[in-house]
Structure formats: structure tokens, C-alpha cells
């Protein structure tokens, strides 16, 4: 061996740092007053609620109220930890309480949020045998079947909502089913007029309606109208990560990264930070901020993979394709995600990754499914690809979908 290596060996043994057992980002804040985290606003954790006289008298009702609040918190804050905590709380309840319709619905809701769609449906079916008119159960059932690509059963659930007089709910769910699979811009127009006829409906329902209308308009190629619907939805529910994400996606598709950066500047959640990273990358920024962000998101996916959860396959596929430019790995992830959920965003991602990976067999399979079940998504994908070809000549050599041949 060369003398240099011996020198290196010696040098290394002298200079080798203290055991690198600590985490890479460990540091001491500058002062006592340094803000190290902003926690979501929430009602207190049950440490205190258990001490109240009311909860002593009606423990299960108080538990259900807590679970309900946590589910709302999970939604507001895009944080699934509230769902796993809620599930643990529900599991600890007596069997008799769990059989109540409220508990069944909360459990279904929690399971849905954790992507356990079939167990969630089982809860809903038990609930609907007890109370065939339950609007919340029909609404969730419609959404779940739509997500799983079972549109006939979803339609039947929506008819039940209508049958029991929940017009706005039925209208939103029906518009989502029609507009996000086939339909046209008119589907959204009809929906917005129904929402306007229900000014007294709860803000959350109206916000859901506006964001659904926005999604339909975005899919059917009316980005300006879609944007105003998303903004209307955010006026009713300003902290909805779902709608914020949808608006960011719309802006990204229109190549308006600076507005996305403005919108998501303070986002703490990974899904929104993924979009922020895409915006930074779209604005050709090679800033340390982008590198840092990409590294943090990557670390998150690695930890999720390590612990073995598949809650973020959609985001990971998107990240792998758009920020790491690893098309075939992204396709593998998009396929795994497609096995779990079948919303337009999932289908678009499957088509996009198959195209980028140059996998014409995968692209064709996705295309056949899309043309049969979600022609609206297919049309959107085609017009987006056409725009991309027009602006980026090199993508002309990517495999051509059947329809274009």
C-alpha cells in the first residue's frame, strides 16, 4: 500500500470527529425567546378534559367529542398523527359505545384518512344498517367508492343523499363524480349555482363545494374560473391544506411559480412544501432554500419507507419525478399508489410518470383505463402534454399515446 494511505490513516485517526451519534441538524437556539416551533391551534389534549365533571358523567360522549375534534384537527393541519391518536382513543371505548352510529362514522372517517378504505366501508355499512338515512355516512360512502373507482356504487350512495333531502351534499358529490370523471365545465357551473342557493349551509360544506367546482374547472381547462372557485373556498375555510394544495397545483400548471411561493411561503406540512419546492424549481432557483427543502422532503420519505408506511406514495411519486427526475422510480411509486387510490390526481401522475419513463406499455394501460373511466382526466392529460410539447421540443420524442397516432 502506498505511503499516502498510511498518512491518510494517521491523519484520519487524529482528525476523526467525536462520535457522530448526534443528529445532523442539532443545535442550540440563540436565546430563551427564540421561537423553535409553531404548534397548531387546538383544543387541549384530553389530559385536562378527563378531569371535568361532565366527562366523568358521560365518558364516552366526551371521548367522541375529542375524537371529532382530532379528526377536524387532522384535516385543518394535514397531520395524520391526529388520526392514529383518534383511532387509539376509539379502540379504548367500550363495545356498546363503539356500536353507536356516531362512533361508527368517526371510526370510518379515521380509517379513510389513514387510507384503510375497505375497513372504513365496513364501518359505514354497519352504520347504514342501523340508520339508513345518515347523511354523513352516505356522503363518505360516495366519496370512498369514487376514490376506489367503483362509480356505480358511488352513484347509488349519492341518490340516497338526495332521497333523504340533502340537496347540497348530493349536488357536490354528484358534481364530483360526474365532473371529475367525464362531464364538462357545465357540471361546475350547475354546482356553483346550487351552492349560491344555500347561503346558510355550514361554511365547511360550502367550502367543499367551491373546491370541488374548482377541481372540475381545472380538469376541464378553465383555469381562471377554477382559480376563483378555489379562492372562494379558501375564504370560507382559509386553512384548508387540501384546497391550498389544489390552488398551488393549478398555479404550477400555469407556470406561475412566484405566486405559489407567495402562497406557500409559511407552509409547514410536507405536501405543501413539496409544491413549494416545485415552484422554486420551476422558477429556476438553485437557491440553498430549494436544496434544503428537497433534502428535508427526501428525509421524510426515507423515514416513512423505513417505518413501512405507504401514506404518501402519491407525493413521493411526484417528488421523484419532478424534483429528482428519476422517471422509472417515479413510475413504480405511481403504480403502487394507483393500486390504492384512483382520483384524477393519481391517474394524471400515473400517465405523467409512464410518459416520462418512456414506458409505452404502462402508458397504454393507463390510457385505456382513463378513456373508459375518466375521459375528463385523459383529455386534460392530452392537452397538457400538447402544451409541453409546444414549449419543450425535446419531449416530442417521448412515446406517443394511442390516441395521437
Amino acid at each position: 500500500m502506498k505511503p499516502l494511505l498510511a498518512t491518510a490513516f494517521m491523519l484520519a485517526s487524529f482528525l476523526s470527529p467525536a462520535p457522530a451519534v448526534t443528529s445532523p441538524h442539532r443545535h442550540l437556539p440563540a436565546s430563551e425567546a427564540t421561537v423553535i416551533a409553531t404548534l397548531p391551534r387546538r383544543t387541549d389534549f384530553p389530559r385536562s378534559s378527563q378531569s371535568s365533571a361532565e366527562s366523568a358523567a358521560l365518558p364516552s360522549q366526551s371521548d367522541l367529542a375529542t375524537v371529532r375534534e382530532w379528526i377536524a384537527q387532522a384535516r385543518r393541519d394535514a397531520d395524520p398523527r391526529w388520526l392514529t391518536r383518534a383511532l387509539a382513543r376509539l379502540d379504548a371505548l367500550p363495545t356498546a359505545t363503539l356500536a353507536q352510529t356516531d362512533a361508527l362514522l368517526l371510526r370510518a372517517e379515521t380509517l379513510q384518512g389513514l387510507h384503510q378504505f375497505q375497513p372504513a366501508l365496513t364501518q359505514l355499512d354497519t352504520l347504514l344498517r342501523q340508520d339508513p338515512r345518515h347523511p354523513g355516512a352516505w356522503r363518505l360512502k360516495a366519496a370512498l367508492h369514487q376514490l376506489l373507482g367503483d362509480y356505480d356504487t358511488a352513484r347509488a350512495a349519492i341518490l340516497n343523499l338526495l332521497r333523504w333531502g340533502h340537496e347540497l351534499d348530493a349536488a357536490i358529490a354528484a358534481a364530483a363524480l360526474t365532473g371529475l370523471t367525464a362531464g364538462s365545465v357545465d357540471t361546475a357551473t350547475t354546482l356553483t349555482s346550487v351552492i349560491r342557493r344555500h347561503p346558510q349551509a355550514p361554511a365547511e360544506i360550502r367550502a367543499w363545494g367551491w373546491s370541488t367546482a374548482g377541481e372540475i374547472l381545472a380538469l376541464h381547462g378553465d383555469p381562471a374560473a377554477a382559480e376563483s372557485c378555489f379562492r372562494e373556498s379558501l375564504r370560507g375555510q382559509p386553512d384548508s391544506p387540501y384546497t391550498t394544495g389544489a390552488l398551488a397545483d393549478l398555479l404550477l400548471e400555469q407556470n406561475r411559480p412566484s405566486e405559489v411561493i407567495e402562497l406557500l411561503r409559511d407552509a409547514t406540512s410536507e405536501g405543501l412544501r413539496l409544491r413549494l419546492a416545485e415552484a422554486l424549481s420551476q422558477s429556476h432557483s438553485s437557491s440553498p432554500e430549494l436544496r434544503n427543502l428537497v433534502q428535508q422532503i427526501q428525509e421524510g420519505f426515507e423515514l416513512s419507507h423505513w417505518r413501512g408506511d405507504a401514506l404518501h406514495l402519491r407525493e413521493q411519486a411526484r417528488f421523484t419525478l419532478r424534483l429528482r427526475h428519476q422517471a422509472s422510480e417515479a413510475l413504480t411509486l405511481a403504480r403502487a399508489n394507483w393500486e390504492i387510490q384512483k382520483e384524477p390526481a393519481d391517474l394524471l401522475l400515473l400517465l405523467e410518470t409512464a410518459q416520462a419513463a418512456g414506458d409505452s406499455a404502462a402508458l397504454r394501460a393507463a390510457e385505456i383505463w382513463a378513456r373508459t373511466h375518466q375521459p375528463a382526466t385523459w383529455n386534460h392529460f392530452q392537452s397538457r402534454s400538447a402544451r409541453a410539447v409546444a414549449t419543450r421540443p425535446e419531449s416530442a420524442t417521448l412515446p406517443t399515446p394511442i390516441a395521437a397516432r
Binding site: L4, A8, F9, S16, P17, P19, A20, V21, T22, S23, H25, R26, S31, E32, A33, T34, V35, I36, A37, T38, L39, F45, R47, R68, A72, R75, A78, P80, R81, T84, R85, L87, A88, E109, P135, G136, A143, H166, E167, A174, E204, I205, A207, P241, Y242, G245, G271, L272, I297, E299, G300, L303, S304, W306, R307, G308, D309, L311, H312, E315
Partner: protein, 406 residues
């Protein structure tokens, strides 16, 4: 559905307003905490990172409820955090419980989310003459409140690294010092989680030798750099006319040895400096300069300017190639103790790979050096080809393009 046929507006009684929008957008991850443990000569140290969002569920952190957690608030909560930690993160050596000592609080982040970070040492109440070889870990923090919580353990001892996922049904694990490698099988990992089998040090070293060989062979830029220097080295050109005159084997060998040694010396220096974090260069700059170095050397073959300074060029550019090699070692994320053997092993691998290339190249080039084919096809055309490829890399790396996709 024709909505105009809907019944007249009816009052919608919503029992559960929170169920309004039946969709979730998951942005945060499920709950996990990171536990790092390192054993060195019988001394056991650790670092535990837990997200403040998770910790807040156990210990209220936001004293004044303004939504912001300050460093002062976290520090004031530390006594409670410490007692929770002592209860839910327990260590034992044989039958003797080990104590968490020298606890030190700081902040860190888990995938960008603010976290509390506590370092500690493990001490025995009755220190035994022999150092601690085996430690069993029990971890059950947060499991009662959130069964989906996981403790992600990374254990480093000598050159071995072991990982484990603590879950409600897998809250125990036995760790062994790598100096006691006879029975390293850890507890079975839950749900088929990745658990790297610990690698004894000689095997780890061989692995790094293989990495090094592999790297030089797949790293076409390093090979072409070396070849571009070596192709003309077997030919001697008369300085005035540019006509070539054959040299004896000894002279050729000395020139080849000089070039290879200079390259090795240079990249070894920077490999050591970069791996020990003494000097850091941005990887894009390194990759760009490596591409440029190949281009410059190929260009010099076609229009010789630095004919007699090939060893000097090998040294100068070798310095930057060393940074390229170092990035591979950094990607492997080695524990500190494994650094030295991996550095030596990896470099040895690079040299072996390089020697194999020279061993094949030299006899063939020496035999052909007087032929027209060698001088025109190999030297001129070969250098042109190398130059073209290097220019493509240069464009790709400098401008961050992906030319393979066009």
C-alpha cells in the same frame, strides 16, 4: 343528474360538521422519533430526537398558549420530558439497569419538522471491570396515545450499523458491541422492516474495496481522464518536429508510473480532506471541473501544449477527482469509527481498479505504439471522441441539462 329536478331547498341538518369535506390531504408524516446509539470501546452514548408536535401531546410545551414554542418554554418543560424519557426509554445490561446520564437538551429537526434532541450516556450503577458489551433497549414512548408511533433506531458500533423499528409489538431489542460479534442476531424486526445485518470490520473493509473498484469502473470520466493521459505517454515526440520516435519499455513504464502516481497522490489527498469534512466543494462544481479536466487532457493530445507536463496535469486535476470519489463515501453515511477503514478500503479499491486498467492498456499500447493505426486512429480519433464526450458532460453538468433524455 339533472339538478333542476331536485326538491326545493331544504334545511340541511348537519350533525357532524367536521365531516364536511370527505377528503384528506396528508402532508405531515405519521409519528416517529429517531434514536441513535453508538458504542465505542464499551462506552455507550445516544441521541434521541422527537418532534415537538409529538412531544406536546405528552408534555404541554406551549406555556403561554400563544401557539409558539420558544426555546425557554422547551427548557422549562425539560424536567418533565426527562422523567418521561427515563420511564419510556430504558436500558439494561444483563440484569443490571443502566441509567441515562449527562442528559443534554438541544433542538434538531426530523424531515424538516422541529424536534427536541436529547443526548445521553449510559452508566451502570455498579460499574463492572469489563466494559458493557450487551445492552437491551426497551422503548414505549407514546405507544399508549398513538399506536402508530414508531421509534427508529440506528445503532453504530465499530464499523457495524444496525437499524430497528420500535413498535407496540416490538418494544424490546438487544444491542451488542461489535467487538463481541459472535452472535449479532438482533431481535426479529417487525413487519419485515429493513434491518441491516451488522458487517464485521474486515468484511466491511472488503466491501469498501469493492465499492472503490466499482466506482472507478463505472466512473467513465475517471477512466477516460487516465486513458487520455496514457495514450500519448507510450509515444515520444521530438520537440522540434512533432515526429514520434519509439522509446524503450523502461522509459514508457516510467512515464506511465509517474502519471498514475501523480493522479493517485492527488486524489488521495483530496479524498481524505473531503471525507473528513475538512474541505467541502459543491458537487456540481466538482463534477463540472472533472468533465473539463477530461476535455483539457484530450485537447492537449490533439494540440500539445503541455506535452511534458502530463504528470503535473494528472496531479492538478487528480485533486478535483478526489472530491468526486469522496462524494461516494459520503453517500454511504458511515459511522465515525468506520471512516478510517472505509477510507483506506475505498482508496485501495480505486487503486486496484486503476491498476487493472493500466495493466490491460500498457502492453497493448506499447506493442502498437509504432503503428500508424495507433498514432492516427487511437491517438487522434480516440482523443477526438474523448473530447466530444467530455464536452457533452461539461455542458450537461455546467448547465444542469439531461442530454440523455433528448
Amino acid at each position: 343528474m339533472n339538478l333542476s329536478l331536485l326538491p326545493q331547498l331544504r334545511t340541511v341538518v348537519l350533525l357532524l360538521v367536521c365531516l364536511a369535506c370527505p377528503r384528506f390531504c396528508h402532508a405531515h408524516r405519521l409519528s416517529d422519533a429517531c434514536l441513535r446509539i453508538e458504542e465505542s470501546r464499551g462506552a455507550w452514548t445516544g441521541c434521541f430526537d422527537v418532534s415537538l408536535r409529538d412531544l406536546d401531546v405528552l408534555v404541554p410545551l406551549d406555556d403561554n398558549r400563544d401557539g409558539d414554542v420558544t426555546w425557554g418554554e422547551l427548557r422549562r418543560a425539560f424536567p418533565v420530558i426527562e422523567s418521561k424519557l427515563r420511564t419510556h426509554l430504558r436500558f439494561q445490561s444483563g440484569s443490571e439497569p443502566l441509567t441515562l446520564a449527562d442528559l443534554d437538551l438541544a433542538v434538531a429537526s426530523i424531515a424538516g419538522e422541529p424536534a427536541a434532541s436529547v443526548t445521553f450516556q449510559l452508566t451502570a450503577a455498579h460499574p463492572t471491570p469489563a466494559s458493557i458489551q450487551t445492552v437491551s433497549v426497551h422503548y414505549d414512548l407514546l405507544f399508549d396515545l398513538d399506536p402508530a408511533h414508531r421509534g427508529l433506531l440506528r445503532f453504530a458500533s465499530g464499523t457495524t450499523v444496525q437499524t430497528h423499528v420500535f413498535a407496540p409489538d416490538a418494544s424490546e431489542l438487544e444491542l451488542r458491541s461489535s467487538s463481541d460479534v459472535t452472535s449479532l442476531a438482533g431481535a426479529p424486526s417487525p413487519e419485515g422492516q429493513p434491518q441491516q445485518p451488522p458487517v464485521p470490520s474486515t468484511r466491511a473493509m472488503l466491501q469498501h474495496v469493492r465499492e472503490g473498484i466499482h466506482h472507478i469502473w463505472i466512473g467513465l470520466d475517471h477512466i477516460l481522464f487516465l486513458l487520455a493521459l496514457l495514450i500519448p505517454a507510450v509515444i515520444r515526440r521530438a520537440p522540434a518536429t512533432g515526429a514520434s520516435q519509439p522509446d524503450g519499455f523502461r522509459a514508457v513504464l516510467m512515464r506511465v508510473v509517474a502519471i498514475v502516481t501523480a493522479f493517485t497522490l492527488a486524489h488521495s489527498i483530496t479524498l481524505v480532506l473531503a471525507t473528513l469534512n475538512l474541505v467541502q466543494l459543491p458537487s456540481r462544481l466538482v463534477e463540472t471541473v472533472i468533465a473539463a479536466s477530461v476535455a483539457v487532457v484530450a485537447l492537449n493530445n490533439l494540440f500539445p501544449l503541455l506535452r511534458d507536463h502530463r504528470a503535473g496535469m494528472a496531479f492538478a486535476f487528480g485533486l478535483i477527482h478526489g472530491f468526486g470519489f469522496a462524494s461516494v463515501l459520503q453517500d454511504l453515511q458511515l459511522p465515525a469509527q468506520a471512516l478510517v477503514s472505509s477510507l483506506v478500503g475505498f482508496n485501495l479499491g480505486v487503486e486496484l481498479g486503476q491498476l487493472a486498467i493500466v495493466a490491460v492498456f500498457l502492453p497493448v499500447a506499447y506493442a502498437l505504439r509504432t503503428t500508424r493505426t495507433y498514432r492516427h486512429v487511437v491517438l487522434q480519433f480516440g482523443s477526438c471522441a474523448i473530447l466530444a464526450l467530455a464536452m457533452a458532460w461539461l455542458a450537461e453538468r455546467a448547465l444542469d441539462l439531461d442530454l440523455t433524455r433528448t
